[in-house]
Symmetry: D2
């Protein structure tokens, strides 16, 4: 997917229509003739660069019906599980498909992502989002993961659902030895229950983390952490099957 | 690389020698005959599982001559730049090679990582570490990145060196449109100078983040954030070339 | 000052008029006849308790022309300087007078607070606020503290102004041996400059702190840190004259 | 109490003996003749200033049998309850007496602090510590606060004990209308139980806070938050009786 982006990071997807922005329009013929890296101007002189959307561009633009896990948390999941190309990932629930896209972007064409979503409407939107981004290594399954995981020899089972402990037994059967279960839980009570169940099933290297991200404000007046910040998204729990 | 790991996460690399641990030894013949997932016992009955080392296992075990960037920070870099399979990354300095391995694990065989290290001793150790892990998509260059970047059409230039601003002009010439420069700076003064130079060279979407990671302690006595935590590692600055 | 407060913490000052609230009114005669601790009802049945306003109640209700230092930061100042009854405090600038009230509430009738404010309009409002709360140990001075501090043998000089380093020399002359200078600075550049000047003037026990306050959300659904939080207010710098 | 303090903040209490330090000794006659603010030199030329110990100096030097609540947390308690001169405080448990001293330093001679400690050995040490500092407005009670609070019309009941909910009913009977209960709990499970009991007893303005304190490192090399920090001490819960 190609997009037009200005110097502030304001983004518009390229379609086969004229582009109308708050700073003027660009004709579809001009867009059609452009190459990646070209700079186009609206009739009001506002400049947009044509680029191939990367994952974050696309997630910003795609349709969402529910909140998504923030990049900070996906980044921590990737780093703590050693996620890499060629790996096999199972996740639930799919939501809008953003996390599946993050995983798919990393595991690449030699890897696979299977994402379970119990709600049909979410599964459909996610399927559309993933297809539009051109990611071919993701399978959206409109199934309840509590009833079982079809895949085996899995490197990572990622759970973002209200009662992740219901899936621990399935994860044991699905993960390869050395593989990880990771879970995203907003509430500490969820973490405590999950932890108990993970211990019961013999998981190793249990760890629960919280990532607090601060953004700095760097202005002529001075430098400081921003006044507003997100206080909490979710706890990230990791466990390894040995 | 294969390793032996116990239920506490204590790891030993598999070599062609007997394994001597604090909890007894295992004969080399037993290790040689084992498959991934097998459980071996020391003569004292302590159990170890044989697994293929993932990236984090390996980084824990490899030789280091300097401190490495923590997983939390690499994770944020990956998430905020949309790093994925098939991408081309340039980084400096290499250090022990841990960050190069993180990037290589993600960009995979269709991607490439070029890592510049001015110190010959560091470059050698990093080369050995990367080779031992079996990663073939990394090129260690014993060159000073301040003298130029050889690669072009790069998706990510990552800088972990005292004066990253000296490399900004080279990054402009090296990055593809839409690509990212990312920098890791322990000191706020570095961030402020880098920010000025990035603006001067026309970079977009400037952002400086700090990732504070808390670990939770979940015990029978109760649940709480751990008493000790790392207060600061470095600031992460991102900028995009448009 | 007396106030009416409901179970949610919604507060109204007692005046000699009928009280009109969003949940109905209470007649002035009923208020006049009430004692501390009595519960009054509006004509719609909403209950309010009559109490003597404490400091925080009053600061919530008083007139403000500028932002005030939050309780978390005043609390840290008090704790790190060992502020107590009978001490003598100098501060600048006064702003709305909230910090002066915090100090005065602690130093009590045997202590004194002298607060310098260069803007006449701020000094007037602060004077009114302090007088209304009935605090008699505060002197508001419509003077520029950069021109000098009149008081000597001071226990604490607290500075909340853009260039606190201009006042360091005056503080040296004003503080007693063992006394503290404390400063509130939003920007790190201010902290760095102040630190240099404090060292030059021979201050001891230099320390710069930042207080990050998280609020927990405890609901039937579960317990978690609140989604929103204040990311940064100001850095607190402490130095002691020995 | 008088102390000798050097420019690094290293402190020694004044006794009627010669002072032996790591940097040489000072004769008792010289100390006896000195006044507050005088600078004395050891026989090796190391300089110490004579000052009257403030609260924090004293707490640093006094005997401790158990960990104490940190200044950051006491500061938040004071700020959120509006603690001031002349108020009446009840606390449990006493521990080494540090928190009682903080409260006593603020409420002053017109206020009172009653501190309950069930262990006789702690109560004795605390009594000695408080007496030595010369604080006359504190009463140490070797009693179990779960059996009742003797005092009434109290402004603040502060609880630092494993099951603070056992004391909530007593606090209701002891607090004046508008007064606060505050509790310090290391574990979130304690906070959750306490919260339920506080609601059951009709407390208002419930709030649970956590104070995360970062210290900045300001050196010639650069400025940054310190590498090490305390990750967690305790949660602070506040509730008001209306």
């Amino acid at each position: 997917m190609r997009i037009l982006i200005d110097s502030k990071g304001k983004k518009y997807p390229v379609t086969d229509e004229d582009l109308h922005t708050n700073w003027g329009y660009i004709k579809k013929e001009d867009i059609a003739l452009s190459s990646d890296g070209d700079v186009l101007e609206t009739h009001m002189g506002h400049k947009f660069t044509v680029i191939r959307a990367n994952l974050n561009d696309y997630i910003d633009l795609m349709e969402r019906k529910c909140s998504i896990i923030l990049p900070k948390d996906v980044g921590i999941i990737n780093a703590y599980t050693g996620l890499g190309y060629g790996q096999k990932v199972v996740e639930a629930g799919t939501g809008s498909g953003a996390t599946a896209l993050y995983f798919a972007n990393i595991v690449g064409p030699d890897g696979e992502v299977f994402t379970y979503e119990v709600r049909e409407d979410f599964a459909q939107i996610a399927g559309k989002n993933i297809h539009e981004f051109g990611q071919e290594n993701v399978t959206v399954k409109n199934q309840d993961i509590k009833e079982g995981i079809d895949e085996s020899s899995v490197d990572l089972v990622f759970l973002d659902l209200p009662q992740p402990w219901d899936v621990v037994e399935h994860a044991v059967n699905s993960l390869k030895v050395g593989g990880y279960l990771a879970a995203y839980d907003p509430y500490i009570e969820q973490v405590i229950t999950l932890n108990k169940v993970l211990k019961k099933y013999g998981f190793s290297e249990l760890k629960t983390l919280e990532c607090i991200l601060r953004e700095m404000e760097i202005k002529t007046k001075g430098t400081r952490p921003k006044t507003r910040m997100t206080g909490h998204t979710g706890y990230l729990t990791f466990a390894r099957l040995l």
